[in-house]
């Protein structure tokens, strides 16, 4: 009756499903996890010493100035929290640069990807603005650019790059990326630079050092001695931000 036999049709469908299953195993931009990476150069981490934070928000201000963000977008946000005994404390929270980022997994166009140094980046020239990543992020670290960024002098009409997303593209999603535009040149991230309490450290897991701009510490020893913990570690996201409590904070969130 028809030209194509039932067996042929079903066979064809099977091949198609197979092709989908195979490509399903290989996301296009999963750079950091890609097959054998010869000795990683760096793996950036941040250490946040909550014993020192006084909630002044200089980090937030410096970040917003560097990336020309609107005031409501706090890529590093200082939460004012209450402990179990009623005491107040502060918890600065940047993007966790997860080892296993949920935001990356849900992005339909691979606008979110990870670079070789463990930083989760957003390509704002590709992002379609579906906000699935905001829904997926357990740390609420992502910000939707619903408004234009504050105007600033941009005489050469610079377009954002994933490493330095300035100016923010309207209708896309932005987030902290540990100022890789600075760290790549041996400078500190804007928030670390701005922290007058020396509570923020930028570090590297590979060379095992961290610095807050004044003192440099042996990272593993520093974390061990101070009982550092990671936020929502039970989610298996592998956050690259370590917290040091001890100023009356609860050790669990």
């Amino acid at each position: 009756m028809t030209g194509i036999s039932r067996r042929k049709l079903l066979g064809g469908l099977g091949t198609g499903a197979g092709a989908i299953a195979v490509t399903g195993l290989a996301p296009i931009r999963f750079d950091a996890e890609a097959a054998p990476v010869p000795a990683k150069k760096r793996q950036w981490v941040m250490v946040i010493d909550m014993r020192r934070c006084d909630g002044c928000k200089h980090c937030t201000d410096a970040c917003q100035e560097t990336h020309h963000l609107p005031k409501s977008h706090e890529w590093i946000k200082v939460h004012k929290l209450k402990g179990k005994r009623g005491q107040e404390y502060f918890m600065p929270q940047p993007c966790m640069q997860c080892e296993n980022p949920m935001c990356l997994r849900v992005c339909p166009v691979a606008a979110t990807f990870k670079d070789d140094e463990g930083i989760v980046l957003v390509d704002q020239n590709r992002c379609i603005g579906c906000r699935m990543c905001i829904a997926a992020c357990p740390y609420d670290a992502r910000y939707f650019n619903e408004v234009d960024p504050p105007a600033f002098a941009n005489p050469f009409g610079r377009l954002p790059t994933p490493q330095f997303p300035v100016p923010q593209q309207k209708g896309t999603v932005g987030k902290c990326m540990f100022c890789v535009h600075n760290t790549g040149q041996g400078k500190l991230p804007a928030c670390v630079e701005a922290c007058s309490m020396l509570a923020l450290y930028i570090g590297d897991l590979v060379s095992d050092v961290a610095t807050n701009g004044q003192e440099t510490v042996r990272l593993s020893k520093f974390l061990n001695e101070n009982d550092a913990f990671r936020y929502k570690e039970e989610l298996n996201t592998g956050p690259h931000v370590y917290y040091i409590a001890g100023h009356g904070q609860d050790l669990e969130f």
């Binding site: 009756m1 989908i20 490509t23 399903g24 996301p27 296009i28 409501s72 977008h73 939460h79 929290l81 918890m91 929270q93 949920m102 997994r105 849900v106 992005c107 339909p108 166009v109 691979a110 606008a111 590709r126 992002c127 379609i128 603005g129 579906c130 906000r131 699935m132 905001i134 829904a135 997926a136 357990p138 609420d140 992502r142 910000y143 939707f144 619903e146 408004v147 234009d148 309207k170 209708g171 896309t172 989610l235 969130f253």
Partner: protein
């Protein structure tokens, strides 16, 4: 006698093809004005960005996603009603299948548009194809929805072929564009036994296929939420809950659409009280099932009294969202259940009131599903969502687009399947292809 009834239903089914009255134009104009206002609002939104909506960096999804889930959900009603009735070979289905299948196509199209409206960079929609990520629930979603859309159109089109032939033979201006379209679309249908058999087989296959297809779509839609770690979304019951919610709101919508077209197109002789009674049974089963699923969800979460689901349930039952929740639970689930479960008179009126309550209630439920987990972050004091006029205008337009779409659909195609009416009225001998299972009217004679 029989011949006269045949003439009557042919006449009623074809009455609005190409020649409509003043009332049709009046209603169509009002609805079209609503749609036009929505299109204007969308253009305004594209020009000014999502800052003109209520969504922000804290409330990331709003009315558009609520509407998206709602419309995709109600599209299931048409598919399931028609598919179930075809597979069980229920004879009474004949006058209502066309309306049910048409409703599925129109609501699905509106739902697909709703989610495109939500995308903040519609200029980059092509990226979904260029850089498609197989691991993203959004990719699963657009593949599933597009497949389902194609399936629904085929499911609408196949039973329409004999009626298109009827239009081809009776449409006065056969030489015009429309006459040409009927000629092409009817694929040279003559009603020969071979053609009848092929058609029945095709419809049987589609009726079987459309059910897993629709379940897939609604499950994928649920996973869009459930694969995140947000409290209230990250639950295993979400996919079945979405499927059942879709069937419930969908059948309710079908009842409303049938009631409207029955009255407006004068189909009282063919669509009788028993149609509403039978559809009410479906409504009753789905409504009771939905209450059971919901109770199961809240009891397992609420009994433990963990911190985060506890706070969410508190906000739902006695907090900020309590008025919405109780309106939905009592007005949109319990009251309709009572209305259709009680025996007695006014079956049709009760079915319609219950359906309207369910449709409204299920919209509220989708509102809670989308907004509640987004509003209960562990550390951030989430803002309460305020929809803007743009979102309200686009929502109104989406609602108006459904009756308008159906009116336009039945301006071109017969509102009842004349071919199927012929079968149940015995005007033609139904073909019985051997490949169709016995319960679908096939099998050996």
């Amino acid at each position: 006698m029989e011949a006269r009834k045949h003439d009557r239903y042919v006449q009623q089914a074809m009455a609005n093809i190409g020649k409509v009255g003043l009332r049709w134009w009046l209603i169509a104009t009002v609805l079209a004005a609503c749609v036009a206002a929505g299109i204007y609002a969308y253009i305004y939104q594209v020009q000014n960005g999502h800052s003109v909506t209520g969504v922000s960096h804290t409330i990331f999804w709003g009315f558009y996603i609520v509407n998206f889930v709602f419309f995709i959900g109600i599209s299931y009603g048409g598919a399931i009603t028609s598919a179930i009735l075809r597979l069980t070979n229920a004879k009474w289905r004949a006058p209502i299948t066309r309306i049910a299948e048409g409703t599925a196509v129109v609501t699905l199209a509106v739902g697909a548009v709703s989610v495109i409206v939500d995308v903040a960079r519609p200029d980059r929609l092509l990226n979904l194809f260029l850089y498609a990520q197989p691991g993203s629930p959004i990719t699963w979603d657009w593949i599933a929805i597009n497949t389902y859309l194609v399936g629904s159109v085929i499911f609408f089109y196949l039973p329409l072929i004999p009626d298109l032939a009827l239009c081809r033979d009776t449409y006065p201006n056969a030489g015009g564009l429309r006459g040409w379209a009927y000629r092409v679309l009817s694929l040279g249908w003559r009603g020969s036994p071979d053609q009848e058999r092929a058609l029945l087989r095709g419809i049987g296959i589609m009726a079987v296929l459309i059910i897993p297809l629709a379940i897939t779509v609604h499950s994928v839609l649920a996973w869009l939420f459930a694969v995140t770690v947000r409290e209230g979304w990250h639950t295993t019951i979400f996919a079945p809950l979405f499927v059942l919610g879709a069937m419930l709101s969908g059948v309710a919508t079908v009842i409303l659409v049938i009631a409207a077209f029955r009255k407006a197109y004068g189909l009282q002789e063919f669509i009788a009280e028993r149609h509403f009674r039978y559809l009410s049974y479906l409504l009753l089963a789905f409504d009771a099932g939905y209450i059971y699923f919901m109770a199961s969800e809240y009891i397992t979460e609420g009994y433990v009294q963990a911190v985060v689901p506890g706070a969410m349930l508190q906000s739902l039952f006695i907090g900020t969202f309590a008025p919405v929740f109780w309106t939905f639970a009592l007005g949109g689930l319990v009251l309709p259940l009572v209305l259709v479960a009680l025996p007695g008179r006014h079956v049709m009126a009760r079915a319609c009131v219950a359906s309207a309550l369910i449709v409204g209630g299920m919209w509220l439920k989708r509102f809670l599903i989308v907004l509640l987990p987004g509003s209960s972050g562990a550390l951030l004091p989430w803002e309460l969502y305020q929809p803007s006029w743009v979102e309200l205008a686009i929502t109104t337009a989406s609602l108006a687009a459904i009756p308008l779409g159906l009116m336009i659909l039945f301006f071109f195609f017969p509102v009842m399947s004349v071919h199927e009416m012929d079968e149940v009225e015995g005007a033609t001998e139904p073909a019985r292809p051997a490949l169709t299972p016995a319960f679908a009217g096939g099998g050996d004679d």
